[in-house]
Symmetry: C2
Subunit: 325 residues, 2 copies
DNA sequence: ATGAAAGCGCTAACAC
DNA sequence: GTGTTAGCGCTTTCAT
């Protein structure tokens, strides 16, 4: 068995309560005693048991992260931002992948509640008002990232997906492209919906015809859709809903013997690690994933500590990155 | 406040112990009573408090994962394998990134111990006998992945890095390449050391001169080293210690106006997601990261449950993937 | 400022 | 087979 607060108390010749007071440095304790306790802690190598603490406090220094899939290259940076910031604030981090399955998502939320996490950062599969209301009943603070519902009682962090996509399409149009195809993301995944709508609006507002196809946020999906598009239509540019799709499209374009950007220009979204490693290097909308994560933790910690009660909806800045595609 | 075991006991007209017995279904309880308790649990929506459970058991259904950096594309698949398998076995997962900093690593290990994790999966920065012995004193089960020290008291999972690299180099030699350069990984990172040694041995055993440079496991490092190599030496093939380095090297080669594999052939190691997305697609040694993760959890869970006491050192199979580079 | 004692929600002897 | 009781290690009234 390991050293407990009782051992320290005995060793320092004080009560458990006093030891507790010095390790939580909130209430004041006699300086001399404090030092004696500190010395005992040092000497015995005492480490407070976080579990016991959590039970007594009915909350823990743990936050939960629930996301679709850490293997999707957009998420590692987000997760890293969350992890760094969490540890900075003294929290540990639980992580689970949902594969966008609402049932699994629900299961993990419950599991984390049983663990009495202090709060949860959720990148949800599907979110509607009803679901949000249910979450609120759980009594655990949530921060919603990327996929959110506006004006909920929860804090949220994201970029302005509509604006980002609109600007990107507008940029292509201004460069003279007219046959711009959109390889969209899945229906009902909020950023995909927003980016699609922005594309449609931008095209129509410039008197151009919109052409798009819904599909997965994956390389394979981008590759396959692009392949079929190339067989049917003559297009001059592609706006992909994310970089993975864009990379897949690039592969299909190369396979067809066409060159990028001379024959077809491609732009993506996210700015994942590989956007700068592709050949040619992918031009894309940079989404500050790391910062979104770090910011989400800040909001959550404030909320846990009760610093703030009004919900905050933060929109971080995106940036268009012009590279070679 | 939420529903506790006491509420359920009262509602079902039994003692807390009985409720505890039914939710842990180990000891036998009267079928009728059992159903009554189950009904009460259902009706009240009772969720056992994992924290209280952990305190009483002095262990938790949580395992910790400590790895260098989730943003490095090799690790997401590993982490995902661990997460899936952990949840399958009823465990939650803590995660922390060390950036290969031994002090941070130590800090996280201690933090997880304070959380009374059931066990820890460690991809360590630096591991020597002394350190391993210290870890053993902690009394928490560890499983070492990828970077390990043989014949320790811990379970380990990895591939045979020496063999994998040796085969890859041999393959190049058999194809007629002679001027094979090795872009190695950092010194003292075990897989990097093994791969480097295998390269050196393979070259010498075939009467060829070994040429290599140590560096980071990063794209940038691969790019820069390759650039300088191209200025000085005439080489015909590159064996990179990982895919990120290989991708960086490919970029430098393209920049120089050379083509792959005609002028220079490149092979990597890991088979990260992007190996199959590059242009040309990267030939590489496939490391079964997901499986390594899933296997590590299995070993750990067995160990936690005391199924096995002798340590196991598992070597999973790698596979050479011939693509276009 | 400090100590004694109750309690957080659960499990595990130990009795019956 | 079931209930009673004593913890697990910590925090937090409530006295002093």
């Amino acid at each position: 068995m390991s050293i407990t607060i009782k051992d320290v108390a005995k060793h320092a010749g004080v009560s458990k309560a006093t030891v507790s007071r010095v390790i939580n440095h909130n209430t004041s304790v006699n300086k001399e005693i404090k030092e004696r306790v500190l010395a005992s802690i040092e000497e015995l190598g005492y480490q407070p048991n976080a579990i016991a603490r959590s039970l007594a406090n009915s909350t823990s220094n743990v936050i939960g992260l629930i996301l679709p899939d850490i293997v999707n290259p957009y998420f590692p940076a987000l997760a890293r931002g969350i992890e760094d910031s969490a540890h900075e604030h003294g929290y540990s981090l639980f992580i689970s992948n949902t594969d966008n399955n609402p049932d699994i998502e629900q299961e993990y939320i419950e599991k984390m509640c049983r663990q009495q996490v202090g709060g949860i950062i959720l990148i949800s599969s599907i979110l509607d008002e009803e679901k949000v209301n249910k979450l609120a009943e759980l009594g655990v603070p949530f921060v919603l990232c990327d996929r959110l519902i506006e004006n909920s009682q929860f804090d949220t962090v994201s970029i302005d997906n509509y604006k980002a996509a609109y600007e990107a399409v507008q940029r292509l149009i201004r460069q003279g492209y007219e046959k711009i195809y959109h390889l969209s993301g899945p229906k009902h995944i909020q950023p995909a919906d927003k980016r699609r709508q922005a594309y449609i609006d931008a095209m129509h507002e410039h008197g151009l015809e919109s052409m798009y196809q819904v599909g997965d946020f994956s390389y394979k999906s981008g590759y396959e859709r692009m392949k079929s598009v190339l067989e049917k239509s003559k297009i001059s540019a592609v706006f992909a809903a994310n970089d993975l799709i864009a990379l897949g499209a690039m592969s299909a374009i190369h396979e067809k013997g066409l060159t990028i950007p001379n024959d077809i220009s491609v732009i993506g979204c996210d700015d994942i690690l590989f956007a700068q490693m592709s050949n040619p290097k992918l031009s894309t909308i940079s989404v500050p994933a790391y910062k979104i994560g770090a910011t989400a933790v800040k909001l959550l910690v404030d909320r846990i500590k009760g610093v703030r009660s009004k919900s905050k909806n933060l929109i971080l800045n995106h940036k268009f990155i012009e590279r070679e595609s």
